[in-house]
């Protein structure tokens, strides 16, 4: 008992911190990339070509990320395909990987047909229910009247059955889908981690709860007073977030909700290069060569192009 420190016995004035400031969670993009590269499973933000955490993905690839398991949103394009281009993905939980009106995802399709990638034949329900279970620390989620009529139970070995103890009926069980880290694009955040996503269908909160670590990239860093104007606009509460990275136009070439348009020209360039076997050349030029995020932005058109995309009329 003598050796234990009882803080309640020490007046507050004797315990004042050396620095009364709140601790900032702001780190550099490159540091975030190095952290992500140490992880083995990743959850990412956005839906389709919207709000992709592209800066963080590029930084992680630069930092040598490999052998990753990816739990993407229920649908995604380049935010999944680029990992595959770089050979950094070992396993993919698949619901949809494609470029919508621009066609199939070239690296995904190639890797899938070459069987160089383990694919879990998932779907929207599987991703969402599994993520929700993990978000709540629960081992699985159940569902009925859905998989009974499809081929998923035959193809997805992670989908099992369980007997409902209330009805006695057999229902399907989706396992908790935890990740080591969630990487999320938002439009605004403060340095303490309070983050606002201004659009989309909000798959991010459960993705973050299901992850052991959360890293946010924000188009803009705002004051906490700005955040506190309306707490309901904070879609990721500060205490959930471990690190914040300032990455203006960090979702490029995808849309950033209510901020800037997707860069169709760049996406077409990516697709054309990858469809012609030049994915390494793309990566060398746009992922590995730029020494930082600003250089990347210059490379894809600089301020002129970014302002064009901000008009949201550029496509």
């Amino acid at each position: 008992m003598a050796t234990k420190v009882y803080k309640h016995m020490l007046p507050l004035e004797q315990q004042l911190p050396a620095n009364p400031e709140r601790r900032s969670k702001l780190i550099s993009l490159e540091e975030a990339g190095r952290i992500i590269a140490t992880k083995r499973s990743i959850g990412i933000s956005g839906t389709h070509s919207l709000d992709g955490a592209m800066s963080l993905i590029r930084a992680a690839l630069r930092a040598g990320a490999k052998d990753m398991t990816l739990i993407p949103p229920t649908s995604t394009s380049i935010a999944a395909d680029m990992w595959i281009a770089a050979g950094a993905l070992k396993k993919l939980y698949l619901s949809y990987v494609g470029f919508e009106y621009l066609g199939m995802a070239p690296n995904f399709r190639r890797a899938a047909e070459e069987q160089s990638l383990e694919i879990v034949e998932a779907d929207e329900a599987f991703i969402q229910l599994g993520t929700q279970a993990a978000a709540g620390g629960r081992p699985f989620n159940v569902v009925q009247h859905l998989y009974e009529a499809t081929v998923h139970p035959q193809l997805n070995r992670e989908l099992k059955t369980v007997v409902d103890p209330f009805s006695g009926k057999t229902v399907y069980a989706v396992p908790a889908l935890k990740t080591d880290v969630a990487i999320i694009h938002v439009q605004a955040a403060d340095i303490y981690g309070n983050a606002q996503c201004w659009g989309g269908n909000r798959q991010e909160p459960d993705k973050c709860k299901a992850a052991g670590m959360v890293i946010v990239q924000a188009d803009r860093i705002v004051s906490t007073d700005e955040i506190a104007k309306d707490a309901t606009k904070t879609t990721l509460p500060g205490p959930w977030v471990d690190y914040v990275v300032h990455a203006p136009f960090g979702a490029h070439p995808t849309f950033s909700s209510n901020s800037y348009a997707l860069d169709e020209t760049h996406l077409k360039l990516y697709l054309e290069m990858c469809r012609n076997g030049r994915h390494q050349e793309y990566l060398d030029k746009f992922v590995y060569a730029p020494k930082d995020h600003w250089e990347y932005l210059e490379l894809v058109g600089g301020m002129k192009r970014m302002v064009e995309l901000q008009t949201m009329l550029a496509v």
Binding site: S49, T74, H145
Partner: protein, 282 residues
Amino acid sequence: MAGKQVTPGTDRYSMAELMAVIMARAMAGEDERRGGGGANAIIPLAAGRLAQITVSPNLWLTTGGAGSINGVFDTLPIGTWDPRCDYHAECKNYMMDTVDGAIRGRKYTGGRLNWASISGLGGIQVDKYGNTNMIGIGDHPKLKVRGPGTIGTIWQGSGATSNYTEHHSRRIFVEKVAYRSGAGWVDGWDSRHKLLDGRDGPPYCWTPICVCDFTEEEHRMRLVSVHPGYTVDDVVSNTGFELVIEGEVPQTTPPTDWELQVLRTRVDRGGRLRTRRMTVGE
């Protein structure tokens, strides 16, 4: 019809415009249901918006990726995940709301909280019972053709959701899908009702050359109308299974001038549907 056509239609309207118009008509009076649909489904999105401003003032226009309900636009977004779907929206539809509502199914909610009446669920294969395949072709996992993943086709199981494709060929319309990733009427007859708690399957199938529904007993695909410029023979020769054909099959009523005017000035000012790529017989 001579071989492959990439942007079918007439001088007066594109086939994408015709499809938006006729699907809007089919939503007339829809109430508390939701139009909208899949990522790439701008034609059902246009149809939903067109229906909402004309024949279905109570329709809740929902767009998936943008997560919005009743967004206001007169220039068609590039997809249902385009954040411009979200402008001036009244409320949000989060992905978990989609999942929860779809699993509950229409039966338990009296039509409330449900998915699209026409949701634009296509597939790389569609069969005579309206089942769809987004997984691929070949011996899983060694697929010869890898599909993009099954995404929302799983929700075909939740309630009556029409089939919809932008391509009509024997490659797509097959006797039996290689992998049933989206459940239509399953194996026909009462097979779907048995597996899915009595929930109905697709009411219609919309394609660039025709409209089909499903027969009352077997729930097999039946040709209902053929779009202008095509014949019953065109449909039959581009379909890999035997369609039910009962008597004379009428021509699909073409878009009226008024319909096209509303569509082009209040839904698709940018003319995105004029150049939409669709294929027949590819």
